[in-house]
Structure formats: structure tokens, C-alpha cells
Symmetry: C2
DNA sequence: GAAAACTTTCAGAATATTTTGAAAATTCAA
DNA sequence: TTGAATTTTCAAAATATTCTGAAAGTTTTC
């Protein structure tokens, strides 16, 4: 297999996998492209490489920055903005964990708390309902704590101490 | 707040949150409805409650069964099929973890392995590319192991031993 | 084995999301 | 300033996903 072919396959596959867990295909492909690119790329280069429109590139670059997965770079003597990915994959993974906590788990925890507050009577039916809400709260909290633990850990710690737990 | 109102809010919110992490809204709402329902429900009751079509109900019930989150039940003397949710939320959460490993992490691991195999030459460019692929493989493997650990654990163990790690 | 009761399928409709591309806004050099 | 270079926005188009409802399929009863 040609190296370029393998890279293209990687970029393509990455985009496909992403859609499966609710992430925009183009965003993943841009991320993959930047992950593999030794040098920073500008919007035109990304447009050309992935054959997508300027607006699409712009929007997804901003999205990727909001996830903390890529950085904007201003090259001396260049007007255009250049972008490069966080190359430390462990760091990137921790960043994704952090964002998913914030975007997915926090809303669950908040909503469950609000719903709990709203149910004031103490009928058996209410108790039963509150049990479900409480349980979901506990599970979400557990997931949140686990992710926090993992995302705050250093890679070195993860690959040594924590990994031993899986033997 | 009326109890029914709280339940409706729960079902509605659950559906909205789900879309945020790539899960069908109706599927989540059916799941929420069954979670809160003390008795098993049949397709007609779900249609009525959530105001959705028969086809939609049927498809999402099957989907929920494939996730192992609900069960089909045949009530004596009844022709219709009834459905009820796994009420042990910890068990349900472990089930989701198991499925996500299978559906999301396994494909990443497989793809990265295949891509690695495909790159045979040992130029510096290939080495650089393989580094990225290897790193992603390692991170996905770590996530897979962590999820395996957590999904195989018993609730009692989770809430006691493992939880202490977060103090 | 025929009819009734129920479930499943699936083509087309409805809805939601993503993408485009051109216009508007911004930035920067002269 | 001006205007060329660049980025951002956003309405409309393209695409993808979800939902409907009626027809086809299946199961059960008589």
C-alpha cells in the first residue's frame, strides 16, 4: 500500500467512524488530516485536500478549536491563518473526555437535580419515580468521576499505575 | 409540580439529551417511558403515549432490545407483546458500556490494525504516520480496557472499592 | 384452513443536519 | 484612509436521518 493511500484511508475511515458516535464527518476528516500533516495547513489547503467548501472548512475549524483539538497559528510573513492538531494523542483524548463531561454529563446531572427538586409530595408513586431519577444521577455521577479521574491523570501515570489494574 | 408533569419532563429531556450524543430521540423517549412505567407496555400504548406511528415504535423497540435495555414479555391471555425496561440502572449502564465497546471501540482497533499492516516500507514519513496510528490504537485500547473493567464489575464493587479512588 | 389479531417492512414524506457559495465583515499593508 | 486579502456569516441547496402509514407477513384462534 502506498503511504498516501494509507493516509487517505485513515482520513476517510476516521470520518466514517466519527459519524457512528454522533460527530460530524467533515470535522473528523479535518482533524485526521491535521493529525497526519507535519506542517500547519491553511483553509485553502484543507479545501483542496478534502474537496470541501470554504464555509464548511471555516465552521469545522472553529468547532475543532472549541474542542481544544487544534490550534490556530500565525506564520510570520503570512496573512493566512494556519492550523495544526494537538499531536499528543493522549492529551487530545483527555481533552475530548473533558469536553464530553462538560457537554454530555453535566447537563444530565443538572437536569436530574432540577427534576428531583420539582417533585415535592411523598406518595409511593413519587418515591418510585425519584428512585429512577436518583439512580440515573448516581450513574452519571460515577461516569463523570471516572472521566475526571482519567482526564486529569498524566499519560505516564495512566500507562503505568492505572494499566496494572487490568492485568 | 405535578408528578405526571415531572415524568413528562423527564421523558422529553431524556430524548433531547440523547440526540446530543448521537442517539435517536424517539428511542430514548421510549426507553424513558418504559423506565418510568411500573407495568409493561405494548406498542399501542407507546404509540398513544408518545404520539408516534406504529412503524416508528416497532423499529425503536427492536433497537432498544438489541442494546439489551428492554425486554419483550408475553403476558398470559394476551396476544400483544409487552415491553419493559431493565430497571437496574447500573446494569443498564454496564450494558450500554458493553455495546459501545463493541460498536465504537472495536471498529477503531480493527481499522488501526489493518492500516498498520498495510504500511510496509520504513521511510521516516511512514514511521511518523505509524506513530499516529499506534498512538490512536493505544488510546482506544486503554478506553476499551477501562470500559471492560467497569462494565464487568458488580455494582456493589463499583460503589465501594472503585469509588474510593475518587476521594 | 380461514379469518382475526397482531407485528414487520419499506417506499415515500417529513424533518434535521450538513454543505455550499456568494455577500458581508474584518484585517492588514501601504 | 483605501483596497486587496482573508475570514466569517448565512440563506438556500444538498444530503442524511427519522417517521409515517398502509401493505405484506406472521401468528393464533376458532
Amino acid at each position: 500500500m502506498e503511504l498516501q493511500e494509507a493516509k487517505d484511508r485513515f482520513i476517510h475511515t476516521w470520518g466514517t467512524l466519527a459519524t457512528q458516535w454522533g460527530i460530524n464527518r467533515t470535522m473528523s476528516q479535518i482533524h485526521a488530516l491535521l493529525l497526519l500533516s507535519p506542517k500547519s495547513l491553511n483553509a485553502d489547503e484543507i479545501m483542496e485536500e478534502l474537496q470541501i467548501s470554504r464555509g464548511n472548512v471555516n465552521m469545522n475549524l472553529r468547532d475543532l478549536m472549541s474542542w481544544g483539538l487544534i490550534y490556530k497559528q500565525l506564520l510570520p510573513g503570512e496573512r493566512k491563518e494556519y492550523f495544526h492538531a494537538e499531536k499528543d494523542i493522549w492529551k487530545a483524548a483527555r481533552q475530548i473526555g473533558r469536553e464530553r463531561r462538560r457537554r454530555e454529563l453535566s447537563p444530565i446531572l443538572e437536569t436530574m437535580e432540577e427534576i428531583k427538586k420539582g417533585v415535592s409530595d411523598n406518595s409511593p408513586e413519587s418515591a418510585e419515580f425519584l428512585k429512577v431519577v436518583d439512580d440515573i444521577y448516581a450513574v452519571a455521577g460515577f461516569a463523570d468521576n471516572t472521566l475526571e479521574l482519567v482526564t486529569k491523570a498524566e499519560e505516564s501515570w495512566l500507562t503505568s499505575t492505572f494499566m496494572k489494574m487490568f492485568k
